[in-house]
C-alpha cells in the first residue's frame, strides 16, 4: 500500500520566466567593484533559488550579459535557476551599454521566446555612463513586445553611476534606480532584484498599500540604503 500513487495528475501548470543580468564590466569596475558584484550575485543565488522553489507559478530561467568594449553573453543558455551558477566577471574596457540592450533584445524577439511566458525581468548593473549609443539599444529593446512587457530594474554602483540613464532603462517613474554606495547595499539590492522582483513578476505577494502599481507588475518597495560605513565607501 505504500508504493501506490496517491493522486493522479501532475504539478500545477506554470509559465517560464526569463531573467537577465546585464553587468557592466568596463575598466572603471576593475578591482573591488567587480569583485563585490561577483560576490553579491553569488550571494543571491540561493535566495533566488528558494524564492523560485516556493513559487509554483513560474519556471525561472536565467541568462547573463556582460558589457565593456562590446557586449557578450556571460550565460548564453537560458539556465533553469536550480542549475544557475555564477562564473566571476573581470573588468576592462569601455561601457557599451547600448550593445548589451541590443543583445538582450535579440533574445526577446517573438521568434526566440516561448509563446506563453511571464514578464521577463532585466536587471542592469552599472557604475558609469554608456560610451555607445544607449538610446539606440533601448529603442531596439522597446520595439520588441517582450522588451516592452519586461520588468526592468537598474542598480547604480557608486557616485558616478548615471542614474538618468538607468531611469530611462527602467521606463517607469514609479520605480527609481537603486544607488549602491557600499558593498552591503549592493548585496541587498542584488538580492532584492533576484528575489522580491522575481516573485512580483510571477506571483505578486500580498498587495499592500505602499507598492508601485503603474508598471507591468506591482513591484514592492526596495529596501532602504544602509547608513554609510566610512570603511565601506567606494
Amino acid at each position: 500500500m505504500t508504493d501506490i500513487i496517491k493522486r493522479p495528475g501532475g504539478a500545477m501548470a506554470n509559465r517560464p520566466l526569463h531573467f537577465f543580468w546585464l553587468a557592466d564590466c568596463s575598466g572603471s569596475m576593475y578591482g573591488e567593484k567587480i569583485e563585490q558584484l561577483n560576490y553579491a550575485i553569488r550571494n543571491a543565488i540561493k535566495p533566488m533559488q528558494d524564492v523560485a522553489a516556493d513559487n509554483p507559478n513560474a519556471q525561472v530561467m536565467v541568462r547573463a550579459i556582460k558589457f565593456s568594449t562590446g557586449a557578450q553573453w556571460h550565460i548564453a543558455q537560458a539556465t533553469p535557476v536550480e542549475d544557475f551558477k555564477w562564473d566571476n566577471l573581470t573588468a576592462n574596457g569601455v561601457t557599451d551599454m547600448g550593445l548589451a540592450l541590443q543583445l538582450a533584445a535579440e533574445q526577446l524577439d517573438v521568434t526566440q521566446m516561448p509563446e506563453r511566458c511571464l514578464p521577463p525581468v532585466l536587471v542592469l548593473v552599472s557604475d558609469g555612463q554608456p560610451t555607445d549609443d544607449f538610446n539606440d539599444g533601448l529603442n531596439t529593446l522597446m520595439n520588441k513586445p517582450w522588451g516592452r512587457k519586461s520588468v526592468r530594474i537598474g542598480i547604480g554602483i557608486g557616485q558616478d553611476a548615471d542614474l538618468e540613464v538607468l531611469q530611462k532603462f527602467i521606463g517607469n517613474p514609479e520605480i527609481r534606480p537603486l544607488q549602491a554606495n557600499n558593498a552591503e547595499d549592493l548585496v541587498k539590492y542584488i538580492r532584492w532584484a533576484s528575489t522580491v522582483v522575481l516573485q512580483a513578476a510571477s506571483a505578486p505577494a500580498s498587495q499592500v498599500k505602499d507598492q508601485v502599481s503603474g508598471g507591468v507588475v506591482p513591484i514592492p518597495q526596495a529596501p532602504p540604503a544602509s547608513d554609510i560605513d566610512a570603511d565601506d565607501v567606494w
Binding site: 500513487i5 493522486r7 500545477m12 532602504p224
Partner: protein, 432 residues
C-alpha cells in the same frame, strides 16, 4: 547576509518582559522577517517587521494588540502570543508558536513535493473550513488567504494557518488587500475593500487549488494570453472572471495539454462537489451573497471524505452512484464496499472506516476524536465483516425480516443488505 536581527540577540516580550533569544533566520516576506527563537527552554517563532513596513501600516501595532487580547480562534492558528520589542528601538514584532517540520506548504502540494492521500487532503480542506468559520464567527476577517499562509501535514491533513497579523475586525480599514489569484473580483477591480465575503471567495479558490491543483478561472482565456502581466491578471481575475467549467459558457474551458489537472480531477470527484464549485464560481463570482459559506463546505467535505473507497490496487476512489466505474489508477472496474445510508448521505464502509458522533446523532458537533463505530471482522470468520458499536449506548437493528435485535457496546452487526440501525436519534440503512 544582512538581517534585521542576528543570532543570539535578545528581544523582550512587551507583556511578560520575557527574554527571547534569537536562534536562526527562517525566512522573509514583504512585511518582515521570521526567526526561530527560544525562551525558558521553549522554541517559538518571532516575526520582526521591516521599519518601512511599520511606517506604512499605521494600524499594525493596535491590530496585533487586539489579536493578542482576543486570542486564537482555534488551535490551528499560529496566533500572535505577545509583542516583542528591543530597548531603545522603534522596531517591534510578535511571538507565535513554531511550525513543526512535518507541516508542508501548499506550494509543496502544488509542486507535488508533498503527496497526501485524498483522505488526508480532504481532511486538510475540512480543517481549513472549520478554522475560518471559527475566525469569521468571532467577527474577524483574515484578508489574505493564499498559498503561503497555510501549512498542512500530508499524513494526517492537520493544518496550521500563519500570518495572522493582517486579521482585523470585519470592515476595518487595513493595509493588506489580498494576494493576486486569490482576491475576489470586486477587490481586484478596486470596487470594495476586503471583508468576510471576499475571504469566502479566497477560501473557495484555495480549496479548488488544493483539490484540483489548478486555478478555477484559468482556461482558454489564460491560454490566449502571451505575456501574463498585471493587465492580464486584472482581466482574468477582476473584470472578466469566468469559471472554466461554467455550464452556460464554455469560452473559458480548460485546454488539454495546458490545463490537464483541471480536466483530470474534475471528472474524478462526485457530482455534489462539482455542483458546489460551480455555484462558488458562477453565482458566487460577482455576487457576494452567492459565496459558499464554511458550514456548507464543512458538510460537503465530510460527505466527500465519507464517499472514498479503495480499489483493489490500493488507490482511493470516490463513490458517485453509477457514475464512476473504473479506478483512476489501474483502470480496472471498481467494486464498491457496503455503504451506510444516513438520511441523504452515504458513508462507504471500508476496512478502516470509523463513524463519529455526528454520523450517529445529527444534533452532535463534528468531533473526530471520539469514534462511535468501526468496521470490524468476525473473530472466527475473517470473511464476515461487521460494524462494531464502540459507543456507550446500545443500538437497535431491524433485519430484512422485520425482526429486531440489540447491538450492545463492543458487539458488531453484520454488513448485510437491508439491515437498518437505529443509533438512538438517527437511523441508517446498510446497502450493498
Amino acid at each position: 547576509m544582512s538581517t534585521l536581527l542576528h543570532s543570539k540577540q535578545v528581544i523582550y516580550g512587551d507583556l511578560t518582559q520575557q527574554a527571547y533569544t534569537i536562534d536562526a533566520f527562517l525566512g522573509a516576506g514583504t512585511q518582515g522577517e521570521v526567526y526561530r527563537a527560544h525562551a525558558s527552554g521553549q522554541e517559538v517563532a518571532i516575526k520582526w517587521y521591516f521599519p518601512h513596513y511599520i511606517q506604512n501600516d499605521v494600524q499594525l501595532r493596535q491590530r496585533l494588540e487586539n489579536a493578542i487580547r482576543k486570542g486564537s480562534p482555534d488551535n490551528n492558528f499560529l496566533w500572535p502570543l505577545e509583542l516583542v520589542i528591543l530597548p531603545n528601538s522603534t522596531g517591534f514584532g510578535y511571538v507565535m508558536p513554531l511550525r513543526p517540520a512535518n507541516f508542508k506548504s501548499i506550494v509543496d502540494l502544488m509542486r507535488r513535493r508533498a503527496e497526501p492521500s485524498f483522505r488526508a487532503l480532504i481532511s486538510a480542506c475540512l480543517q481549513l473550513s472549520e478554522s475560518f468559520l471559527q475566525l469569521h464567527a468571532k467577527g474577524l476577517c483574515y484578508r489574505d488567504i493564499n498559498f503561503n499562509n497555510v501549512f498542512f501535514d500530508p499524513n494526517t491533513g492537520d493544518i496550521l494557518i500563519c500570518d495572522n497579523d493582517n486579521v482585523d475586525v470585519n470592515g476595518a480599514t487595513g493595509a493588506i488587500n489580498g494576494t493576486p489569484r486569490f482576491m475576489a473580483p470586486e477587490l481586484v477591480r478596486g470596487d470594495a475593500p476586503p471583508n468576510t465575503e471576499s475571504d469566502l471567495f479566497s477560501l473557495s479558490i484555495l480549496l479548488f487549488y488544493m483539490l484540483m491543483l489548478h486555478h478555477p478561472l484559468e482556461g482558454k482565456k489564460e491560454a490566449a494570453i502571451r505575456c501574463f502581466d498585471q493587465s492580464a491578471m486584472n482581466k482574468l481575475y477582476g473584470t472578466e472572471p469566468l469559471f472554466i467549467f461554467n455550464p452556460q459558457d464554455d469560452s473559458n474551458a480548460p485546454v488539454a495539454g495546458l490545463h490537464d489537472n483541471a480536466l483530470v480531477y474534475w471528472a474524478l470527484y462526485p457530482q455534489f462537489l462539482r455542483d458546489v464549485f460551480t455555484r462558488a464560481f458562477t453565482s458566487g463570482i460577482n455576487d457576494q451573497h452567492g459565496r459558499i459559506r464554511e458550514n456548507e463546505w464543512r458538510v460537503l467535505l465530510i460527505n466527500l471524505r465519507d464517499s472514498l473507497f479503495y480499489c483493489g490496487c490500493g488507490a482511493q476512489n470516490f463513490y458517485d452512484g453509477d457514475n464512476i466505474k473504473t479506478c483512476w489508477a489501474c483502470n480496472k472496474p471498481l467494486v464498491a464496499p457496503p455503504r451506510l445510508r444516513i438520511n441523504n448521505a452515504l458513508v462507504m464502509l471500508n476496512y478502516d472506516t470509523l463513524l463519529y458522533p455526528h454520523h450517529i446523532d445529527q444534533t452532535q458537533k463534528f468531533n473526530f476524536s471520539l469514534p462511535q463505530a468501526t468496521v470490524s471482522r468476525h473473530p472466527q470468520d475473517p470473511s464476515r465483516w461487521g460494524l462494531q458499536n464502540i459507543s456507550d449506548s446500545a443500538w437497535t437493528i431491524t433485519l430484512a425480516d422485520n425482526s429486531v435485535k440489540m447491538v450492545d457496546p463492543q458487539r458488531s452487526v453484520n454488513l448485510a443488505a437491508g439491515i437498518s440501525i437505529n443509533f438512538g436519534n438517527t437511523s441508517a440503512e446498510i446497502c450493498v
